[in-house]
Structures are given as C-alpha cells and as structure tokens.
Subunit: 227 residues, 2 copies
DNA sequence: TGTACATCAGTGAACGCGCGTTCACTGATGTAC
DNA sequence: TGTACATCAGTGAACGCGCGTTCACTGATGTAC
C-alpha cells in the first residue's frame, strides 16, 4: 500500500517537480487526503521515502551493471557499463534524478539516513578503481600515461585537499591512493555533470547526438583514470 | 521601480527557490499584490525577467574577467579567469545560478528571448579558443599533446555528432574546428558540472577544500584544451 | 455456530493558510489653456 | 494665477483555487471465547 502511494507520487514528480502535493496524490488514488497519514507522517516523510528509494534504485542498477561484467579485471568495461547505467536510469526517471542531484528542494532538509543511501553508488564506482589498484592494473602517478597528466609537478595537492581525499578514501574505498581518488572524482564530475546538463536542458541547440557524445566523453574519463 | 521589484524577488529566490510568490514580493515591498501587475503582466513574466537579467549578469562578469587579461595571447590565463568568474558568481548568487542551470521549474517554459542571453556566455568562452586557433597557438589534433588525447584513432566523431559540432560552431564561434569545439564542450561540462555539484550539495562530506579542488580541475580542463 | 469485542483503513468536515489574477476605484501629480 | 482635465501608481475587495494537517467518526474485518 505504501508502495502504491509512492508509485503515484513518483508519477506526480514527473509533472510537478519537487512540489509534491499530498492532496493530489490522494486524489489520484481515489482516496481522501487524510488517509495518507496512516502511511506517512507528513509530506516531508513521503518525500524522504522517495529520495531513499531513488538512491537505492540507482545504486542497485549501477551495481548490477558493474557485476554483469564477469571478467572483473576488465576495468574499462566495468566503468563504461556503470556510467551507462547511471545515464540510462536518469533519462528514464528524470524527475527522480533531479530530486537527488538537481537544485535543492526549498525548505526540505534531508534527514541523516539519506547519506548512507547516497554514498552507495560512490562505493560501487570506487570499487572499480580499488580493484584495479589492488590488481596492479592502474598506472602509477609517475608513469607517462594519460592518467599521469594531472600529477605533473605543477599540480601538487594542497594539504587541506589531501586531507579531504584521505578521509573520503577511507569512507568509500579504503586503501585507494588519493591520486586515484582524485582521478575518480574528476571522472565523477564529468559523468554527473554531463547527465545533469543534458537532463536540465543545457544541451538543447548545442548537441543533439547525445548518445555518441556521451560515449566519447566516457572514453575520455576512462583514459583519465588510466582504465 | 521594476528594478526594485526584481531586487526583492531575487532576495526571495534565495530562500524559496523558484517557487516565487508575487504576493510575498509585494508584501516585502509594502505594496498590495495587484500593484505588481502594473510592472509585470504575470508571475511568469517576472520570472523571465529575472532569468534574463541573470544570464546577462553572468555573461557580463565572465566577459569582464576575460578582458581583464590584457595580453590576449595568454589563453590559459583567460580561461582560468573566466572560469573563476563563473564559479564566484554562482557562489555569490546560488539561487540565480540554480534558476539558470538547475532543475527546470515545473510548469515554466522559457520564452525565445532567453536563448540569446543564455548563449552569450558561451560566445565569450568560445572566443578564447577561437583567438588561440586564429593565432596558431593551439595544438593540431594529431600532435602528441594533452589535448590530442581525445582524438586518437578510437575516437572518431560520428556523423550526427559532427553535424552538431559544425552547427554549434557556426552559432557560437565561426571558423573554430570541430575538434577544438569538442574539447571546449568537454571543459564546459567539467566546469559547469563542478559548480552545479558543489552548489547543489554533492560535495558535502566529500571535498571541503573546494577552492583548491576547483583550481586543480581547471588546470586539467586547460590541459585538455591545449591552452 | 454464534456473539462480543478489538483493530484499523479510510472518511469527511474543518482549520487556517497561501496563491495568481481581475476589476472598479482613489487620489495625487502633471499638463493645457 | 487659476481652473479643468488626463494620466497613472497604487488600493482593496473579491473570485476561485490549492495546500498540509487535525480530529472525531464509520464500518468492515478479524479474533476470542
């Protein structure tokens, strides 16, 4: 029953954005609005449930795409599969993607429990790098490989940033060198930046062949990480 | 007078997001809500005016930052200056940035005239590449330079994408080779992706040393374009 | 097999609020003669 | 210098709507004896 409410609410997100209306949801279900309070204590709680579900659905989809690459040493294939899964999911459920990664909903503050769900996807992505590092398949920062680009003498990490990377590494991918995490964050920005710009309409009148464009961008990010 | 209304409305955007309320704006100005209709025909028209102003303000700031580099051949400095101007502006006016580049406002459709304003900033950015190309200061796609990364044999541009690039080039930076535009688009995604993710809270608990992080990302994008 | 009772999903009315937009109006200011 | 008129910024009431949340309630279903 709460599942049905959430399904209807998700449908409303598509047209109304995050201005989710309890009454409208109830109306769509042929119920009276107060009936929803048997299942959710407030509008914000319903919104939180939707956000949690979305984070988890996305993480599931990405983990499945990664795990579908049975030869775990094919790091590049794993990255491409995971990234495609993210974009496909986002294109299929734009409103839910916007809920997670779009402009913050005014007046809504995400409760603590969303943090863990939000980081699941990052753990999946970081594992690709961590596996590669453990297998010795990623280039060391010094080597003359594409990924080495960013670790030239002029690109020393400041102490504060190094501390961030160390902390995030221990949260998400214990043992991963900070330079690899940095490369991963760069790819992350490129990936989510791409999907967000595309979804939020910034590609209109600029790039229409979006699948091809995305594929090329992905190859770049894979090079950047040395996959 | 319309300026004062817009100023108050901008203040409201900060707290309410795009759920801008005419009545609230009027209240803040000590007026009755219907008085606003002497200046704006509807709520959407006010929103459009705010969006236009924001696009123009951002483009102005970026153009000024670029032009402050008096030696026009210092392409890398010009790119860094422009990019910093974008981020600084976004951090100073997060709500207006979100209005332009965040999730679309449900039910609001931008009228035609916003398109020209929206592309001004791209013209400024593309001019950096165009100047560099005209001066012969940018590496040819074949050269063994960082920017050449993305034009290896495995990264052929599909016809549809090539057509997009040609069209966009003629809109924004006539004469610019499509490979350079592609590099520019990649940098654009990295830049706006970074600013959006940062502003929309995705860096929380991940990267706190954001200025340093941004600087490093920018160096990367500059390398990528061969500046 | 039948009665008494508890559970609990959903109802309907109400509270108090906010919204965009319209419309006839007031009343001050400026202009023309 | 003084009167008549036009302009026009802002008013106030109203329309019709939607919202989240509360509360006492109905009435069907299941359980206990």
């Amino acid at each position: 029953m709460t599942d049905e409410i959430k399904a209807v609410a998700r449908r409303h997100l598509e047209t109304e954005g995050a201005n989710l209306s309890l009454r409208a949801v109830a109306r769509d279900m042929g119920m009276v609005s107060s009936a929803l309070y048997r299942y959710f204590a407030s509008r914000d709680e319903l919104l939180t449930a939707l956000i949690l579900d979305a984070y988890n659905a996305l993480a599931d989809v990405v983990a499945a795409a990664d795990e579908a690459v049975t030869d775990r040493s094919r790091l590049r294939a794993r990255w491409l599969a995971a990234a495609h899964a993210i974009r496909d999911w986002a294109l299929a459920r734009p409103a839910e993607y916007a809920l997670l990664y779009g402009s913050p909903v005014p007046g809504y503050v995400a409760p603590e429990d969303t943090v863990a769900a939000a980081s699941r996807i990052y753990i999946v992505l970081a594992r690709i790098l961590a596996d590669g590092f453990a297998a010795g398949a990623l280039p060391a920062p010094e080597q003359d490989r594409p990924a080495a680009l960013m670790f030239g003498p002029s690109l020393r990490l400041a102490d504060a940033l190094r501390a961030d990377l160390t902390r995030t590494t221990s949260d998400i991918a214990p043992g991963l060198p900070e330079q690899l995490l940095f490369a991963g964050l760069t790819a992350w920005i490129q990936l989510f930046g791409h999907v967000s710009l595309e979804l939020f309409g910034q590609f209109n009148n600029v790039v229409e062949a979006r699948d091809e464009f995305f594929d090329l961008q992905l190859e770049l990010t894979a090079d950047l990480m040395g996959l």
